[in-house]
């Protein structure tokens, strides 16, 4: 029976307003709430729904990160994943998308899933690369930015959110899907599920175990805040607004 592999990333919670370290060496993450990347949560929700419809029998959730990433994997297990794999990286290590894709490929070769689902991008680095890279290395179809996924036999029909509207693709399985916001609304975790999740298997492996050599090829030399827009003016009515627009030559 079919397996689904879901990849999740531990990121600064989307509600946190990030702060840069004063010396420009990075983003301050100490004492900051960390969560599952929201797009990956959507990916997990979709996998769980597929399994619950009988389209697959097992949902495996995987992540690459420091030991603390176990917290996010436990949350994923509480949402309903059957088991978890953590590929443990050194604290503070940078995992570039190409390394993440290679690592996921190693897991794919081990687990042989029919479907891999991940978020279209992580909200920290905003790279939007890993799913596509995995599909390339695996030499399988990709359907990115999915807003609906229908499975039938060994095929999937996916509607994708693209700049010009909605595009529909048909792909042969196995395949890689990346999620857009409107694919589903992830469930909330209930307390009894958190208790149950503690008993579910969570395996920790290393890059070496998987035969992957992490590479860091992109050097990040400086972090800076975006340029600030100058504070504008308030107008009291439409006439004043039209006057201001005319003065700027905009209407």
């Amino acid at each position: 029976m079919a397996k689904i592999l879901v990849a999740i990333k531990r990121v600064v919670d989307y509600n946190v307003r990030i702060r840069l370290k004063p010396d420009g060496s990075g983003v301050a993450t100490e004492g900051v709430k960390l969560s599952i990347n929201p797009f990956d949560e959507i990916a997990l929700e979709e996998a769980l729904r597929m399994r619950d419809r009988g389209a697959a029998e097992e949902v495996i959730v995987a992540s690459i990160g420091p030991a603390e990433t176990q917290q996010q994997l436990r949350t994923a297990l509480a949402m309903g994943a059957d088991r978890a794999v953590l590929v443990q990286a050194d604290a503070g290590a940078v995992v570039e998308p190409l390394t993440a894709a290679r690592t996921l490929l190693a897991l794919v070769e081990r687990e042989k899933p029919q479907i891999v689902i991940l978020g279209k991008q992580a909200i920290d680095d905003d790279n939007n690369q890993t799913g596509q890279m995995l599909a390339a290395l695996w030499d399988r179809p990709q359907a990115t930015f999915a807003s609906t996924i229908e499975l039938k036999d060994d095929k999937a029909t996916v509607r994708r959110e693209v700049d010009t509207g909605l595009e529909t693709l048909e792909v042969d399985l196995p395949a890689v899907f990346t999620t857009d916001l409107r694919l589903n609304e992830p469930r909330y975790v209930k307390l009894p599920d958190i208790m149950k999740a503690k008993k579910k298997p969570l395996e920790t492996v290393t890059f070496t175990d998987l035969g992957v050599t992490p590479k860091q090829q992109v050097e990040v030399s400086h972090y800076e805040p975006p340029p600030v827009r100058q504070k504008g003016v308030m107008v009291k009515d439409v006439a004043e607004l039209v006057g201001a627009l005319k003065k700027r030559g905009l209407v």
Binding site: N128, T130, A136, V162, D163
Partner: protein, 315 residues
Amino acid sequence: MAANKILIVAEHAGGALNPSTAKCVTCARAIEDGEITVAVFATDGSSVAAQAAALQGVTQVLQIDNAANGHPLAAVLAPQIAALADGFTHVFGPSTTFGKDLMPRVAALIDTPQLSDIMAVESAHCFRRPIYAGNAIITVKVPADLKIVATVRTASFEAVADGGAASVEKRDVQVDLPTHTRFVEISAASSDRPDLQTARTVVSGGRALGSADGFRILYSLAEKLGAAVGASRAAVDAGYVPNDMQVGQTGKIISPELYIAVGISGAIQHLTGIKDARTIVAINKDAEAPIFEVADIGLVGDLFALVPELEKQLA
């Protein structure tokens, strides 16, 4: 011979070159000692290739005609681009859904990292790009011996003007193409209004419009202004307008001369999409809305009264 040879993957549809390609050319021209080639993948790319050849700064256009290239499928295009990339130092695509889907697949086949959303060129191997929804800008450097694959943040670059006269060469790329991915259809919300990503003026609405019907006052104002119409994620999620109208971090990143935000509170992910607008006007009944922190001109009040009044006074 130029030290940097840059290959740009053209985005096009219906025989027309997408303006994002001309923006990629501007980005590529910022690289010193560079030579720019544009690749056009199509069933018959003659018309698109001619448009690309007319862009200033382009030296050569490669036209790769193949029945399999009728619709831009990443799985089909990527192996052809990877094969073509031999001899180039850089491979660029636009940071549109076309380029975001395609370029990482190319990078993985070439076995090189990708730089996403480059917004400034520091040198041939050093660029700046936004992270955390544009709340931080990082400087990234790639070793000189690696080929650079990148997507270009189109809102950061002006389109290059016409006036070039590059040569067009038909090229046969011999690689096995997969059949595991098939195009079915595209449903575009047809509209006579200007394109959201290239319009000079954009009028955008939020959840405060209340319904699909509520958006009518914006369409009417947009018509008067010759403007495109956008929306916040909240308005799209509520079903008032289709997804392709969404402006923001996960929707479209735009840079119009004038952006009029109506009934949009200004969530951080929306502001990310409009940071590059020249002038931002906000109309909102809540004087404390975060949109007023970035607006150049703010007006507090009932949008259902103010928008029709604005349209009238623009007469």
